[in-house]
Symmetry: C2
Amino acid sequence: MMTTLATEQVERLLSMRAMVDEHLALHLKTTREQGDGDVVDLAEHVLMSGGKRLRPLLVLLAYEAAGGVRVEDILPLALAFELIHTATLVHDDMNDEADQRRGRTTLHLLAGAPKAIITGDWLFVQGFGLGGRYDERVVSIMARSCSDIAVAEFLQLDHIDDLTTSPEDYLDIVRGKTAGPFAAGCQAAALVAGRTTEEAEHFRVFGEELGVAFQLVDDLLDLRGSPTMGKPRGVDVVEGKMTLPLIHALTLSHGADRDRLASILASFKDEDWPDLMDLLKRSSSLEYAEVLVDLHLERAATALKRVADGPALPLMLGMLREVGERTR
Amino acid sequence: MMTTLATEQVERLLSMRAMVDEHLALHLKTTREQGDGDVVDLAEHVLMSGGKRLRPLLVLLAYEAAGGVRVEDILPLALAFELIHTATLVHDDMNDEADQRRGRTTLHLLAGAPKAIITGDWLFVQGFGLGGRYDERVVSIMARSCSDIAVAEFLQLDHIDDLTTSPEDYLDIVRGKTAGPFAAGCQAAALVAGRTTEEAEHFRVFGEELGVAFQLVDDLLDLRGSPTMGKPRGVDVVEGKMTLPLIHALTLSHGADRDRLASILASFKDEDWPDLMDLLKRSSSLEYAEVLVDLHLERAATALKRVADGPALPLMLGMLREVGERTR
């Protein structure tokens, strides 16, 4: 999966991820011992189903790159970001009427909407319980980032099937929903490591730019598919989500092309794939998104190099390259 | 509304409630200025619709009774409990398929389920953002109480229409869902006021016992109705919620009485009221609940008198009497 990283870097990332998994499982075990029962079982179903743990890994790496040396000081924050992320997935899947998440049945199908809502709430609470241990600056960064997720989700709902969605609307949604938590995690980690507000700001920019790039890559993968990663394609298109390549194509296409594109997006069927890809090709919309990916990754690297140190720096730069490679 | 309290005590409570309302409105204004937009409008619809503000009032009073003198130190915690309570109402109303809350249309009917879920999440986040400013003990009390709400809601869902629900099941639900936040608010307020863990424990017991009594009174009002308070009756019965008077009656009734009671509860219609009241009377189930109300109120008073001081003490004891009076 990690191709441009050195073997020892890949091993380092895998061992960090294993540590995150282990402590998430421990946290669930503790709550189960406190009597949380069935809620924990449902939370476990979605939390322990092989997520990439990107947010906690970024928190751990940013902390280390900012000079932090006590992993036990940053681990609760790393777990908090994963728990909150998972809470949003549970509620998102309800709103998207999704039936699969990480290869498993979604909670609302498994246990019904009421229990899915409550399990999402419970996951939020676990995240805030861990994040609330930090000082007021960190808590307020977390709260701001979670508020921004909600605001971005409202925007996203308002733009479902909206063919007039602008690139600015798109970026507002992505900055709130994907890039915001990446940014908040990196910024907060730098503060916990003892960096100044100004230095932490560069970590924030790193996280935000990486997050935008990451989302653009996801958009591209939704259109191109990714046989090696086993990801189905077209989920966003079917759900009416206006991703950047589609917005770009709608903006540049005219006449019959635009009409055809609009009609494909209005009621997408599998046999429309060749036509859709052809239309995207004519407007160079996939290439455009790729250029933007590189641009945001470069900005992320620039911000990081201004403040980061030690062995975590090349590891994080390697992760940026990996994100770029996912679309190639 | 407040009949056994002195005029100046009533005025004191009303002015505290006005302060809570004002600061909740200020918080919404700040988030609106930060660009949270439509989410704030929906949150305002449910938050600013004339709630009793019982939880924040208890937090403020417990703080004062514990010797706390800086209202600005406790206000964020008081607001946090109201914001989180409101978050649970939004998600609860979805799960109960309720169409009215505090005399207004429920959010999921007003704006659809997706936006209602997200607005509830946003309200949770606001609450935790404010509560997260406090030290780790307070944060962990808040998180524990919110986890307990989720666990109790699972239990409640599992016991809908379950005629074998026991008094223990009922108390588990009430302790988690209603009494838990009352207890947590009072305990945390005492800690913020500088009381020891042991002293704060008595404040916790006060809140918990008051909370159980409060829920029992709500159960009674659901069966008796309360013309002076404009509360409709029978909502719990229609929703299949097993309240204590019903559980008690089911336990004590036999033969034809029990069959009739079970059949009334299985498909309640308005014309069943006289029969239902007659059955509850034969098993003395309303009187039984009233005795329990007094018992829990007495326990609350005993716990409070061990640790509380100053003018807040008679005010809180007066509130206990008021809760008892609501059912008479």
